[in-house]
């Protein structure tokens, strides 16, 4: 019994310490946004990795997401003769929830793990220490640039995924009905209101911030040894995905209040 109690106490202490460390890491990283120096070239490089390199994945999954959602939903609406509301329904689902969530989870898998592994390898091979001893702040050059890139670009990727998803939906409807693209997008657009758009967009900035931050944190705090690099990458994906769901839960509550 005492052993179990000690284990629980130990796990709780470890968990709370980790939370404390993440909070401190977040504070130090955010401070770098304001104290600089601005690492423009590195920002562009990370922006390219986050934005351009993720685009093919987002395009394919976004298209399939819209296509499948429409194919699955259409028969149900058809039963009630309500297929005309399909574009609006799909667009609301995509913009409010599915687009941001699927994109964020994909980015957690690709970008968070990438940052975790890259920074972990830099830590293990003492590259971060080398920056530190030469008077350069790795937190500014390595972490702040990555976090800023994900914060600014993941919302763009979400918007892109939404549009591609709608395109997929259009193609799914076109398989059965003769509808022009203009009419489809007009119906889809009419269904979306500001109260759908604003919270959905705001939460994507938080998704982006935490995807970059958690990947970087896990890499930055990697222990010695190559095994730790793999663990950091893995832990980055799991933690970032969990945080995305928590942010989404909070966002849903806030949206409900607005409605």
């Amino acid at each position: 019994m005492i052993k179990i109690k000690n284990q629980i106490q130990e796990s709780l202490t470890r968990f709370l310490t980790e939370i404390g460390n993440i909070v401190l890491f977040t504070r130090d990283t955010v401070r770098q946004f304001f104290v600089g120096p601005v690492e423009g070239k590195e920002m562009i490089k990370q922006g390219y990795y986050v934005g351009v390199k993720t685009l093919p994945l987002i395009t394919i999954t976004g298209f399939i997401m819209g296509l499948v959602l429409t194919i699955q939903t259409r028969p149900v609406l058809l039963e009630f003769g309500a297929q005309s509301v399909l574009p609006g329904m799909i667009s609301v689902s995509l913009v409010r929830e599915i687009g941001p969530m699927v994109t964020a989870l994909l980015c957690a898998g690709k970008i968070s793990s990438g940052f975790g592994a890259e920074l972990g390898a830099m830590k293990v091979t003492e590259q971060l220490d080398a920056m530190e001893v030469s008077g350069t702040k790795p937190l500014n050059f390595v972490v702040a640039t990555r976090v800023l890139a994900t914060t600014l670009l993941i919302p763009v990727l979400v918007v892109f995924a939404d549009v591609i998803g709608l395109l997929g939906s259009y193609f799914a409807i076109r398989m059965h009905e003769d509808i022009s693209m203009l009419l489809f997008f007009s119906k889809a657009g009419d269904a979306i209101t500001f109260t759908d758009l604003i919270p959905a967009t705001v939460k994507t900035f938080f998704f982006g911030f935490f995807i970059g931050l958690i990947g970087s944190y896990k890499g930055y705090t990697t222990n010695r040894g190559t095994e730790s690099v793999g663990l950091s990458a893995n832990s980055a994906v799991v933690t970032a995905s969990l945080v995305i769901f928590i942010i989404d839960l909070i966002a849903v509550q806030v949206t409900e209040l607005i409605h």
Binding site: P37, M122, E126, Q127, D129, A130, V133, S134, G135
Partner: protein
């Protein structure tokens, strides 16, 4: 001679294990000291404390007469620019070419330089280590010895007054080890640097160091020139020279 590093009663532990147990140390200007000792005796921990990469539990570290323990981040960075550190594997930035690796610390720590000034600095640093032709290569294209030389060039480019070498010849063949050792000596003679060389390589210690210090059980247990230590009566010290 001026003391550039002065350490008193330095203690550091990881968990229950005491790594440094009241270490005292002095490095004078223009002097090279080699630190020898078994693996895990705290040699690397010791030099990491000097540049503030690790924080000791107690004791004082003075570099250029300033207490490293008490320095704010900005002041510590100023000291770090005067203290070069050569990491075991070179610690070159994987994503940058050799040129970018060398330019990186200069761009971030010194007043902005135009292209020709920067080229001159980079070329001079690479000529010092005999690797000017590797300027546009990526670290992945370099051998272990070349990485260490480039690492040294990146350290030299900031014109440090003290250089800390963490096992500079480990993992290298005897010929390359000898070349690196000679390079360390050349750097001392050319730039009048003071150095601490953490090594297991007795040949390297003999070539590069004015004095040797032997570390064991978290303390220095022997000190002297190579000849003095090699003729010691202590069996443990003698075992290093056999």
């Amino acid at each position: 001679m001026e003391k550039v590093v002065e350490i008193n009663d330095l203690k550091m532990s990881f968990g229950n294990k005491n790594i440094l147990d009241g270490v005292g140390f002095v490095l004078k200007r223009g002097e090279n000291i080699a630190i020898l000792g078994e693996s895990g005796t705290g040699k690397s921990v010791f030099i990491k404390c000097i540049v503030g990469l690790l924080t000791p539990d107690s004791g004082t570290i003075k570099v250029f007469d300033k207490l490293v323990n008490d320095l704010e981040n900005g002041e510590l960075d100023e000291i770090r620019q005067r203290v070069g550190y050569l990491f075991q594997g070179g610690a070159l930035y994987d994503s940058m070419t050799v040129r970018e690796n060398l330019e990186f610390p200069v761009r971030r720590t010194q007043v902005s330089k135009n292209k020709s000034e920067m080229d001159k600095l980079v070329n001079e640093a690479l000529e010092n280590v005999g690797l000017l032709d590797a300027i546009d290569k990526m670290p992945a294209e370099l051998s272990g010895g070349m990485k260490k030389r480039i690492g040294l060039a990146r350290t030299l480019i900031l014109k440090p007054e003290i250089i800390l070498y963490d096992e500079p010849t480990t993992g290298l063949d005897p010929v390359t080890s000898g070349e690196i050792s000679k390079l360390i000596l050349q750097v001392q003679e050319k730039y009048n640097t003071s150095s601490i060389i953490v090594t297991h390589d007795m040949k390297c210690a003999r070539i590069t160091a004015n004095r040797l210090k032997l570390m064991g059980d978290g303390k220095f247990i022997g000190e002297g020139t190579y000849d003095e230590l090699s003729s010691s009566d202590d069996d443990y010290i003698k075992s290093y020279f056999n």
